[in-house]
């Protein structure tokens, strides 16, 4: 390829690769290969057995029709239901596909006002958790099997005693919640038990956000962002572009602002490279303890009355220059400017952010009253409760918070406190660490099995409806709470309906209203109103002046919520465990991330096992050298190192960070000691897999050099020279795809969507290590520039590009991969004999081989997650992206039965549907008005490895960055 392009240097994927050019990748085989004789024997035997298999008659099959068919069900045609998924108390609108009564795909609800169809990885992967055979299935009391009736009987007796004592000693430790129904139940409980107390707990609390607002406004607020108006945004550790809950809307708005020529600019200041940091035009890496000092210094530069802060903190010349340029750019952007701060940052920085945004007159941010029942769901509140428990003041503890024994910081020692409680009740999906120590353990109904309500990230009241009857004896939170005042026999549905019925004034009209709400999944117009409260600058300044000018020197710990298992609750989910982390591309575990310089200083290398110690016992972690990481800090993700026996998938994977977290400094703290153990770990990191052998394929250009780049890209598109006369595809549909790298944030939501839609198996850590992961769609992440300390990053979602002259097809000896009349590169599983020639000849490295029959050992429950429209592949066959051909064919049949053509936008591939940034567009290239055609006629369009003459149907649009000339 004739690139490198203007301003683009050789890309690299790890520090090793930067130092030495990539060696051709090598298949990792067994240590002692079989002899030629053994190979021939095995070949002969398998050929004979395969022939025999063809002679068996098809097995007898049964048909079980309904006795009375529900009117809405048409077997074979899936149904879609609107519901919501609630994580840490706030809901995301979902549209779930049910095939013959079982949910098979979770998608974002396009009509939901809060998320507008966007969806993250966790919500999608919830589907797999629903069918997890390791879920808790029965009520237990001290590890003995009991029934729900036993529990109710105990609670009736217990409630009599508690009622007499007016609820003295009754405590609740709840999952953070915004549910109006739960609020109502809590109120009723307090009427019966006035001395009972509620507290919430989450390992990832929003408490510092609320504290910061309290400081700045005198009242708790949450910041809402409308990035569609953004011009210049500074993220201080705010990861608003990762596929986490609540980010769907910001990602959608931000992506629209990243399309040239009128682009917004993003600055990131952070310790570890985050998804947002990867997308930033300028990124400053600072030690974790420095980020809030930088924010205060920025406040000093932007708001004259805080000028004392501008020079209070010591920063290097380069950092000061960054602050000056950033301040000027924010000022220029005025109403289009915004400073965003991550939830991990101390309240004073949140307050400073409010002061800056108010001074800039930012129209990007606004404030809204929080919707959570408890403002403080952090370690502070848990500590108070744990003290009470230790004192013996808690007689009955009802827990719905996720796994406090595992997730609480070590100094709280919640396990010990729990042993002092007379009666404890814990509602959980799995028999986890907390369940092992609790008295009554109730199996929780999965969100896709239960009724409920919650408020979305913008406050919109959303409804959760079940897609399937509880697979096990699961109970919902409302049912459990109702048991405490003798209404344990009332289902969550009855409670929910009656609660809302009481709130609709018009008599007799409720049924219709209710049906509409449930069908939509939300009540329109119930978002919390935006406010612009006045900032108390004096209070902010007084608090800011308390921040010491410099942090203690030495190594710092930087704890982050995991992008896949969150706080550990998704640990037993194979899709998430195997999803490569968007930044490090690490699967199946967490690691200690170090910058190259710090690693060199400490004398450790990639894969070394080290002991991390901070005021407690050590945690043993493997080292991952992370370009872009701040020096003098170690980043670790929570949620791994699980110990419960019930969750075998995540047991013993990674390391537990609780010994490194303390309730005074749960996220970052100085004084970390790192000692190499001299041992090595084997990391399943996909960043080096499917090597592109040094070709530049992900094009990234700076906005000022866009014209130049576009001229160069001229050579990377159009019809290549060929000896063959190209096939004529001008009749009928000509499917194609456009991927806009300028919109893509690298969040990996598409990877999970593809896995769910196409029955892609999970293969496990060892096979990922052998480069045998099965993902049809991968997101490549390349570093740019020669500076390993703070490189640029570009990423590229890559799946089969459906070449019109496909190299894989020439080499298949059995015609198992062929072309359709519409130009799809088809894979015929039944013809495939597994020579893997196609995979070797694929320049894009997008073909995946089933080395084993990964799905044959699935339990009956797990098989229920399969998409019935897609063949489940067996051992020995090749597979790859099909452009979601099952969706094409469904749309084709649908349109033909209706006697019309397929409309543009009618077919959305799974990845396209899941993409919160609208980076992927699929459609008919023969229709010049289709969205995909219009996108692909862009000057930024280029074909991957165009010089090979493969004529790919997927075209890419070069990424454009918008750097500030003052920092160039």
């Amino acid at each position: 390829m004739k690139l490198p392009l203007a301003g683009q240097s050789r890309p690299w994927r790890s520090v090793e690769e930067l130092q030495s050019p990539p060696a051709p990748s090598r298949e990792l085989g067994p240590a002692e290969p079989p002899s030629r004789r053994e190979v021939l024997q095995l070949l002969g035997a398998s050929a004979a057995l395969a022939t025999m298999g063809g002679c068996l008659k098809p097995p007898d099959e049964k048909i079980l029709p309904y006795t009375k068919q529900p009117p809405e069900v048409t077997p074979g045609n899936p149904l879609h239901y609107a519901t919501c998924s609630t994580l840490d108390g706030r809901a995301t609108g979902l549209l779930v596909t049910a095939s013959e009564g079982r949910p098979t795909k979770v998608e974002g609800s396009p009509e939901h006002p809060s998320s507008k169809g966007g969806i993250g990885v966790l919500e999608q992967a919830q589907l797999l958790s629903l069918y997890d055979p390791q879920r808790l299935k029965v009520v237990q009391y001290k590890s003995e099997l009991r029934s729900w009736r036993d529990f109710l009987a105990t609670m009736i007796a217990k409630s009599r005693v508690l009622r007499d004592r007016r609820g003295e000693g009754l405590r609740f430790l709840m999952e953070p919640s915004s549910s109006p129904l739960i609020a109502h139940l809590r109120q009723r409980l307090l009427e019966v038990y006035p001395r009972a107390r509620f507290s919430s707990w989450s390992a990832i609390p929003l408490q510092q956000i609320h504290d910061g607002a309290q400081l700045a406004f005198g009242s708790a607020y949450e910041t809402r962002i409308d990035l569609s108006r953004a011009q210049a945004v500074a993220s201080l550790d705010a990861d608003f572009l990762s596929a986490m809950p609540g980010n769907a809307r910001p990602m959608k708005d931000w992506a629209a602002r990243r399309v040239p020529p009128n682009m917004a600019r993003l600055y990131a200041v952070e310790a570890h490279l985050s998804v947002t940091g990867m997308n930033a035009d300028h990124r400053l890496r600072l030690k974790p303890s420095q980020v809030h000092r930088f924010g205060l210094a920025l406040l000093g530069r932007l708001v004259p009355r805080h000028a004392a802060l501008a020079k209070r903190f010591s920063f290097s010349a380069e950092e000061l220059r960054f602050a000056d340029v950033l301040a000027r750019d924010l000022q220029r952007a005025g109403a289009g400017a915004a400073v965003l701060v991550g939830a991990r940052q101390p309240p004073v920085l949140h307050a400073a952010m409010h002061a800056i945004n108010a001074a800039l007159g930012s129209s990007v941010v606004s404030q809204a009253k929080p919707v959570l029942h408890e403002m403080d769901a952090g370690p502070r509140a848990l500590r108070v409760l744990a003290e009470e428990m230790r004192r013996g003041a808690v007689d009955t503890l009802i827990m719905t918070a996720y796994n406090p024994v595992y997730g609480a910081t070590s100094d709280i020692n919640f396990a010990m406190a729990l042993s002092q409680v007379n009666t404890s009740v814990y509602r959980t999906l799995y028999a986890d660490e907390t369940a092992e120590r609790a008295g009554w353990v109730l199996p929780a109904a999965h969100p896709l099995e239960s009724w409920g309500d919650a408020r979305a990230h913008d406050g919109t009241i959303s409804f959760q409806q079940p897609l399937i009857a509880p697979l096990y004896a699961g109970v919902s939170e409302a049912e459990m709470l109702a048991a405490l005042f003798g209404e344990g026999d009332r289902t969550a549905y009855t409670q929910l309906r009656e609660f809302w019925q009481a709130r609709v004034p018009e008599l007799g009209r409720f049924d219709l209203t209710w049906e509409k709400w449930i069908a939509d999944g939300f009540i329109p117009g119930t978002a919390v109103k935006a406010e612009s409260p006045a900032v108390n600058h004096d209070a902010v300044l007084a608090e800011a002046m308390k921040v010491p000018p410099a942090e203690k020197p030495g190594l710092e710990i930087n704890v982050v919520a995991d992008t896949k298992v969150l706080d550990g609750r998704f640990g037993n989910n194979g899709w998430l465990q195997e999803l490569p982390d968007p930044v490090t591309k690490l699967t199946w575990e967490n690691a200690a991330l170090l910058s190259p310089a710090t690693a060199a200083e400490l004398g450790v290398e990639q894969g070394d096992l080290v002991d991390l110690t901070l005021r407690g016992p050590p945690a043993r972690a493997p080292v991952v050298i992370a370009p872009g990481h701040a020096d003098g800090a170690v980043t670790v993700a929570i949620g791994y190192g699980r110990r419960s026996d019930a969750e075998t998938l995540c047991k013993g994977i990674g390391f537990d960070t609780s010994t490194l977290r303390h309730s005074d400094l749960p996220w970052f703290a100085p004084g970390l000691a790192l000692v190499a153990t001299g041992r090595k770990a084997r990391l399943a990191q996909t960043q080096q897999h499917h090597s592109m052998e040094g070709r530049i394929i992900a094009v990234s250009a700076a906005l000022p050099k866009l014209r130049e780049t576009e001229e160069m890209l001229e050579e990377q598109r159009g019809a290549p020279l060929s000896f063959h006369r190209p096939w004529d595809y001008s009749k009928g549909y000509r499917w194609g795809m456009a991927i806009d790298l300028s919109r893509c944030t690298g969040c990996s939501s598409c990877v999970v969507a593809c896995q769910a839609e196409n029955n892609v198996p999970v293969v496990g850590k060892d096979r990922v290590w052998r480069s045998r992961e099965m993902h049809w769609l991968r997101v490549d992440r390349y570093f740019l520039g020669e500076d390993a300390a703070n490189p640029g990053v570009v990423f590229q979602p890559l799946m089969c590009v459906h070449c019109e002259s496909a190299p894989c097809e020439y080499v298949c000896p059995v015609n198992a991969t062929v072309h359709s009349d519409e130009g799809l590169n088809e894979m015929v599983y039944n013809r495939c004999v597994g020579t893997r020639y196609c995979s070797n000849n694929c320049p894009y490295k997008v073909r995946r081989f089933n080395f084993f029959s990964y799905t044959s050992e699935y339990s009956d429950q797990e098989k229920m997650a399969f998409n019935p429209d897609v063949t489940v592949r067996s051992r020995g066959v090749m597979e790859k992206c099909t452009y979601c051909v099952q969706r094409i064919e469904r749309a084709r049949i649908h349109s033909r039965v209706e006697g019309r053509e397929i409309r543009d936008g009618e077919i959305q591939t799974a990845c396209q549907q899941a993409c919160p940034a609208d980076a992927i567009v699929f459609g008919d290239l023969n229709d010049s008005g289709s969205r995909v055609s219009r996108l692909l006629s862009s000057e930024r369009r280029y074909d991957l490895l165009h010089e090979l003459g493969t004529r790919p149907r997927t075209g890419y649009l070069a990424r454009v960055m918008n750097p500030n000339p003052e920092l160039a």
Binding site: K57, D60, E61, I63, P65, T67, E889
Partner: protein, 216 residues
């Protein structure tokens, strides 16, 4: 006495050996190929026992009930659908409601337990056949399912092999009929080819033979 074997005998013997070997080898290949296409293997004309003695001869032939009365999903779903028990009781609530032959049906209805039918027309799971589109394009029931009105127990009328599917997908005009005659068991046009060609244009029939048409 002349020699028992002429000088050419050795050669003839060798040639015979080679021919035999070729025949045997060919048979080893051709045999299974013929076998899997035989009605024995495809289970054609092999009446399948059912838990209820349901007779299509009576319901379709004598009573003239349209196929779509019971198989009501056939025009809108991939599967034609075996009717729910409640459909049987639409009539048999009134007539033959004490017949012992209908005992399993009543039991199914009142106990809310499905009747377990034996599948007759089995397709492998990697084949995604859709009834609705075939009806829309003018493929009659009888074309694939045979004279159901003459079957006491339903049997597979056609091999349902891929080659058989492709016969129609390559030359649909040989099988198309007007949509009004879809469920007719006796429709015979005077000139099938002329009718088929006209219908192919009228219904915009574009049969496809790409793999993903049926395999996904």
């Amino acid at each position: 006495m002349s020699a028992l074997f002429k000088p050419g005998a050795n050669t003839s013997f060798r040639v015979t050996l080679v021919v035999l070997a070729l025949l045997l080898g060919g048979g080893l290949v051709a045999g299974p190929m013929i076998y899997v296409r035989s009605p024995y293997f495809t289970q054609q004309q092999d009446p399948v026992d059912q838990p209820v003695q349901f007779d299509h001869r009576h319901h379709v032939g004598d009573e003239g009930i349209d196929c779509r009365y019971c198989h009501s999903l056939v025009e809108k779903a991939p599967n034609a659908g075996v009717p729910p028990t409640s459909v049987c009781l639409n009539c048999h609530e009134q007539i033959w409601n004490k017949s012992p032959k209908l005992a399993p049906v009543r039991e199914s209805y009142f106990a809310d337990r499905p009747i377990v039918w034996n599948k007759v027309n089995k397709l492998p799971h990697f084949v995604y056949f859709n009834h609705s589109i075939h009806l829309k394009q003018g493929v009659g029931c009888v074309t694939c399912h045979g004279r159901i009105d003459e079957m006491a127990l339903v049997e597979k009328a056609q091999p349902l092999t891929m080659g058989w599917c492709l016969e129609c997908h390559r030359n649909p005009e040989r099988f198309l009929r007007p949509r009004e005659e879809i469920t007719s068991m006796t429709f015979r046009p005077r000139d099938q080819l002329a009718l088929g060609r006209a219908l192919k244009d009228q219904y915009h029939v574009h049969t496809r033979v790409s793999c993903t048409t049926c395999h996904r």
